[in-house]
């Protein structure tokens, strides 16, 4: 059974279709990046997966449960950081740890305390006294001490400096991730998570436009850099004139076909993202 199984999810807010036939399957042991422009439906999709909002139509199962109806049970196996700065600011850190230990059957206090010991965070302090970076460290320490099968991170590093962001993802990969657990991440800073992802999912206008394993990426997408405009017999999904010449991105065109026309490379996720969003061949 898949960890996440979403079929044809639809959610409208007034005239806006935030989710418009959203399909997604996530197996165990994957790190999935959910990429899309603002308003693409990322947050709405995550909210649905976490049981934080109702859907208009569609079938959704997470860890075998219906999130909207069984949120409390689901949260025993799903941990998430919805955003930075959501920890209760009035609370002392030791009381916060007591709280999580009191309500969460899969929380290991020792792991949380051990993680915090590596930081400058003192447990008798209140959350409001922490810097933004420390706040994320604390949230991470709490979440990583939960034995969950799915970790969901929605823009977890928004507004943090580069040092914290890098630490954050390094720890995620080294201390948390294993083949029984999956991580679902959305972020604007695609470059930061590119190297840790196993899969990437592109969302645009409430629908999944592309789901791809990172390993397949270099097969499926090729960037050709050339001095002059080229015609390989197939339309590029993206075409850009730069100071040095032309950049064409092709999808599902064999490298051998493209080789004679210029220098081949694998486009970055950001480039593919732009290409997909603007793809002339595919109406969006």
């Amino acid at each position: 059974m898949s960890l996440i199984d979403a079929r044809n999810l639809v959610k409208t807010y007034g005239d806006t279709r935030a989710l418009d036939g959203f399909d997604l399957t996530v197996e165990r042991g994957r790190i999935v990046g959910l990429i899309g422009p603002n308003g693409a439906g990322k947050t709405t999709a995550l909210k649905a997966i976490l049981g934080l909002g109702d859907l208009d139509t569609g079938e959704l199962q997470v860890d075998g449960l219906n999130p909207a109806e069984q949120r409390a049970r689901l949260m025993q196996n799903v941990a998430y950081i919805a955003d930075t700065g959501t920890l209760p600011r009035w609370m002392r850190i030791r009381d916060l740890i007591d709280y999580v230990a009191g309500v969460h059957p899969n929380f290991d206090r020792q792991i949380a305390l051990a993680t915090l010991e590596q930081t400058d965070i003192r447990t008798e302090k209140r959350v409001r006294t922490l810097s933004k970076g420390m706040n994320v460290q604390l949230h991470l320490a709490l979440i990583l001490a939960i034995d969950a099968s799915l970790l969901v991170l929605d823009e977890p590093t928004l507004g943090l400096d580069i040092l914290y962001r890098q630490q954050f993802y390094d720890r995620l990969l080294s201390e948390y991730y294993n083949e029984q657990r999956s991580i679902l991440i959305t972020t604007h800073e695609v470059r930061e998570i590119e190297h840790i992802l196993t899969d990437v999912v592109f969302i645009h206008r409430g629908r999944v436009r592309l789901k791809l394993e990172m390993a397949e990426l270099s097969e499926a997408f090729v960037k050709v850099t050339s001095d002059t405009a080229i015609d390989v017999g197939q339309k590029p999904i993206h075409l850009k004139q730069t100071l040095n010449g032309w950049e064409n991105i092709y999808r599902d065109v064999p490298r051998s076909t493209l080789e004679p026309f210029g220098t081949l490379s694998t486009p970055s996720i950001a480039e593919i993202f732009v290409a997909i969003a603007e793809d002339q061949n595919e109406p969006v």
Partner: protein
């Protein structure tokens, strides 16, 4: 700690400062008012022949003098003493009750609104705790845990008032003051009174929680405004004032010591409130409002 106790503790921690500070401040004021005025030398020479002042210590002054005059230990019958001592206990309890009412009002108004406003609701909802249990823990804490400090402080203030009166009456009458003091009963009245209050005020409390869960801005305004509009509408449309009477009834304490009690307060008169149909109507309305508030939190109304 069990999950539900953890939830209660979390709610207690959030409101603790107000729940402790309100009775502490009132208790300090009562003690100050009593002690400070007692220390002042009597500046008026009072005729000890006056009937009113019979049985009063010559050293009584200020508030103590006033209190001793009002109670008139020497000149009261046993029945009058019972009534007066009970009234004294109720009078002492009143400021504590009012302070707690203000604290509870703001605790309820902020109960869901605050976590929506600072978005910590997203953290709370990432925990395996249902919205129903969370909301019930909020109600239980505000209705029944918050008054604990108030009960203790009220009882101490009542003890102080009795002692103070006993000190300020002439030798020989102190025994009469103690004979009509009922500290144990006073404590029981307060415990039962506040216990029933949590049920009696349920329509009001649940209404405030609902507003807290639904209103996006200035919940206080909605909390007060909507009932006022409904009361006016009822008056215009039907010409009646059932809702006004109901609301006014349930804002008032039903089983706490009252200054205007005609019959002496007893445990059975307090418990009789439980048989009042208005209590049950209120609890049905309150449950419906609380269910609506739970539904609203479930839907996650972020601000």
């Amino acid at each position: 700690m069990s999950p539900f106790k953890t939830l209660i503790r979390r709610e207690w921690l959030e409101g603790r400062t107000a729940y402790l500070a309100a009775p502490a401040v009132v208790l300090s004021l009562v003690l100050l008012a009593g002690l400070a005025t007692s220390l002042v030398e009597p500046d008026v020479s009072i005729s000890t022949n006056s009937d009113q002042l019979a049985g009063m210590s010559e050293n009584a002054s200020g508030m103590a003098l006033l209190l001793a005059m009002l109670v008139d230990v020497a000149g009261s019958t046993d029945a009058e003493m019972t009534y007066k001592m009970e009234t004294l206990a109720a009078a002492v309890a009143r400021p504590f009750e009012l302070a707690l009412t203000v604290v509870i009002f703001f605790a309820l108004i902020g109960s869901v609104h605050d976590e929506r406003k600072d978005r910590s609701v997203l953290f709370w909802k990432s925990m395996p705790v249902s919205d129903t249990r969370t909301m019930i823990s909020k109600y239980v804490t505000i209705a029944w845990v918050a008054p604990v400090a108030t009960i203790i402080a009220t009882w101490l203030a009542q003890l102080f008032a009795m002692t103070w009166l006993a000190i300020n009456v002439e030798d020989g009458f102190a025994g009469r003051v103690w004979a009509f003091s009922t500290p144990t009963a006073n404590l029981i009245y307060l415990v039962i009174g506040y216990g029933i209050q949590g049920l009696w005020a349920m329509p009001v409390y649940a209404w405030l929680i609902l507003v807290s869960a639904v209103a996006s801005r200035i919940p206080t305004l909605w909390a007060v405004g909507i009932p006022v509009v409904l009361i006016i509408l009822e008056k215009i449309v039907a010409g009646t004032s059932t809702s006004a009477t109901f609301l006014f009834d349930h804002i008032q304490p039903a089983a706490l010591p009252r200054l205007d009690n005609e019959a002496p307060l007893t445990i059975s008169s307090q418990l009789a409130v439980l048989a009042d149909p208005s209590l049950w109507v209120g609890m049905i309305i309150g449950s419906a409002l609380l269910a609506a508030a739970i539904y609203s939190r479930k839907r996650l109304n972020e601000i």
